[in-house]
Symmetry: C2
Amino acid sequence: MARASTTADVFNAIAEAHRRQILDVLAAGEKPVGAIVDELAISQPQVSKHLRVLSEVGLVQCRALGRRRLYRLNPTCLRPVGDWVAKYEHLWNERLDRLDDYLSDLQRREGKRDKPSQGAL
Amino acid sequence: MARASTTADVFNAIAEAHRRQILDVLAAGEKPVGAIVDELAISQPQVSKHLRVLSEVGLVQCRALGRRRLYRLNPTCLRPVGDWVAKYEHLWNERLDRLDDYLSDLQRREGKRDKPSQGAL
DNA sequence: TTGACATATTCCGTTCTGGGAATATGATGT
DNA sequence: ACATCATATTCCCAGAACGGAATATGTCAA
């Protein structure tokens, strides 16, 4: 079967560092291809190809203006990624979470902090 | 140059759906390879290969116990991904953000809501 | 030691990739 | 019509991927 297509999935699309850089540039606002080429050190054909991938997964949208094409970020498509990593966020913030829980418990119950907070992992 | 190695980067490592599934399984706690093979519908060699990739980028860690190998999630390595998508979170929550801003302005200034909120994007 | 079990590795084939170079498409201005 | 600018596409290549099948490694039990 070989590797999945980069356009199969937002996860595959953002696996490429250059593509993430392009999204970062577009996060500042709608821009024509040339502006991306200038900001990053990528050749124009490469930028166009990456933009094609990003647009096929819906991460960017295009609008023609004269002989330029303005690309704009469509951040909604990053939600699946955000949701997926969010599941792990509390794990790498575990220490802080426990502190928060502890403080919340202190505030709420005023001295009855004894919940063992189910030590999974 | 061809495509980047899956072990080059956490982003590349999690691009594969099967690898994300494995991480999801391990989020519940340390498990031997066989348990992952049972929970998911992936052959044992494939699971081992995916675990190797995940371990090379640091996403999982291994511990030998008898003839089994217990794999455990190392969620810290997902932070770069979390941080990267976090930059976009406020964009896909924009409507809520604007509502929040609006309400804050209402509360703070009591009726002077006229700031055009700089329409970037 | 021998056999059964748990996991890792190697070999193979198909598929898809990112980059470079060259070229095609398309719009603007004169 | 023409030259120029802005972008997209095609052709090519080396490299890497996943999956399957087979095999190697390593551990326990008797």
